[in-house]
Amino acid sequence: MGKVQTHMTARICIFGSVFLTATCLVLGVAAGRDVSVAPIPSDAGAEGPARLFDAGANSAPDLLPVASSPPIDAGSANMQDAAAHAEMRAVDAAGSADASAPPAESAVAVRTDPPSVPVAPSAPGARRVSIDRAFPQQESLPVVTERLAPVPRKRLPLLGVVADVGAPDGLIASLAVRPLKWVRLSAGGGSNFVSAGWRAGVTLLPLVDGISASFEYGRYQVGNANTLASTFGADSSPVLERVGYEYMNMQLGFDYAYHDWVFFLHAGATRLRGQLHNLDSSIRDATERETGTTGTTNVVVRQDPNVKATAPSLKLGLAYYVW
């Protein structure tokens, strides 16, 4: 039984070690770093770990001791040989790895004390190499090379133009500002084919691209809607002579980005507010048409009624980020 337990414990330790090592490697790769371990042979017993890593071209070489140990005899010729060998290996490896990299990427190995052996850089931007510390008891010199690949971040365009069409928005052209990658502010003007109006709003993109939520407020001036009504075959009416409204959109949608272009489709609910004008004129017209004369009942609307409506809204648009 005890044997089995010991066996299991050993297995767990082995798997745990493997798992931790794999996790570290995966995390290193996920972080955009190329992590590898390479032994550096020592031909004079002067062995020890040294860590080679990339650094910015303008940064000073850093020291990353892997383990604390007494400093080696810097005056040892063997040590110098070993150091030079290790340095050459490290630089070669870094140079070959960075052959296609921009000059800013350079492999650097550092040490705590001289000698510092200048090495002809094998890649543009390669810098001098030295060894860190040596551990005579080790057969080989494990070297960890860690390459910090610079991630060239493209700045998100800040300003853009947007054109969209929908109801009750009408046709709107806007300027857009993206202060954060998941926020788009817009404000602009347009027409609902009856009068001119404006609209301002914010679109939130929690995933930067894809699902979006928009909140907008707009207003249209009073205009004559009889022309539009006649387009659809409706009779002209006094009540359509002065049509104007304000509205507030709450929409969910989908924003699809392609380079600097964004296509979007938003749908949701709109809260509309406005006034109906000339209502009693409309009633009189109706009375006369239906009875041929003014009826014995007369209705007067002393105050224009306020109208509120909650309606679905839909919008289709295209944005282009110009700067």
Binding site: I283, E290, N298, K308, A311
Partner: protein, 173 residues
């Protein structure tokens, strides 16, 4: 209500699938020429008479569309034919009723002329508290009944009856 207005309301409500509300804060509906039969031989004694009417459909369609919070604020009755004024009326009762359901009858006005109002030509009463008549108003047919007492004219005469009210038109599919 015109077809256009009806279309607007229906489109705004049904096409939206949501809601529509119009708030009419002051609407006057007047029935002109409500005839009251004369009372022959009523020269010295007080008599009573009654008249009733329903608002004509064509013009009252909008008013009848008001379907929520219908409240009467004021009633005005003015002479419109056969008599120069209404100073001979000593008391008046006005009710709103629907023939299909007598339980919905609402008394709008119970008026007794006081000494200070003896010179008034017309009768105009503002409600201290608006009277809610929504249930009666939204019925298919709404009638106004007027009962008057006083030294009434011997010949037929007519009055104009005006109701001032407020309400809301709502549509919630």
């Amino acid at each position: 209500m015109t077809m256009t207005l009806r279309l607007l309301v229906v489109l705004a409500a049904l096409a939206s699938g949501c809601s529509f509300e119009a708030d009419l804060s002051e609407v006057e509906i007047t029935q002109h020429g409500v005839k009251v039969p004369g009372k022959p031989g009523s020269g010295t004694a007080d008599q009573s008479a009654s008249a009733s009417f329903a608002f004509s459909k064509a013009a009252s369609d909008l008013a009848k569309s008001i379907n929520r919070d219908v409240q009467i604020h004021q009633i005005a009755i003015a002479a419109s034919g056969g008599v120069p004024n209404l100073t001979f009326i000593k008391s008046m009762h006005v009710t709103m009723a629907t023939p299909s359901n007598p339980d919905l009858t609402v008394e709008l006005l119970s008026y007794d002329r006081t000494q200070s109002e003896s010179d008034g030509w017309d009768i105009q009463v503002t409600m201290p508290v608006p009277i809610d008549v929504t249930a009666t108003w939204v019925a298919a047919r709404t009638e106004i009944e007027i009962e008057m007492a006083g030294r009434l004219p011997q010949q037929d005469w007519a009055v104009d009856v005006t109701l001032t009210f407020s309400g809301k038109i709502t549509y919630e599919p």
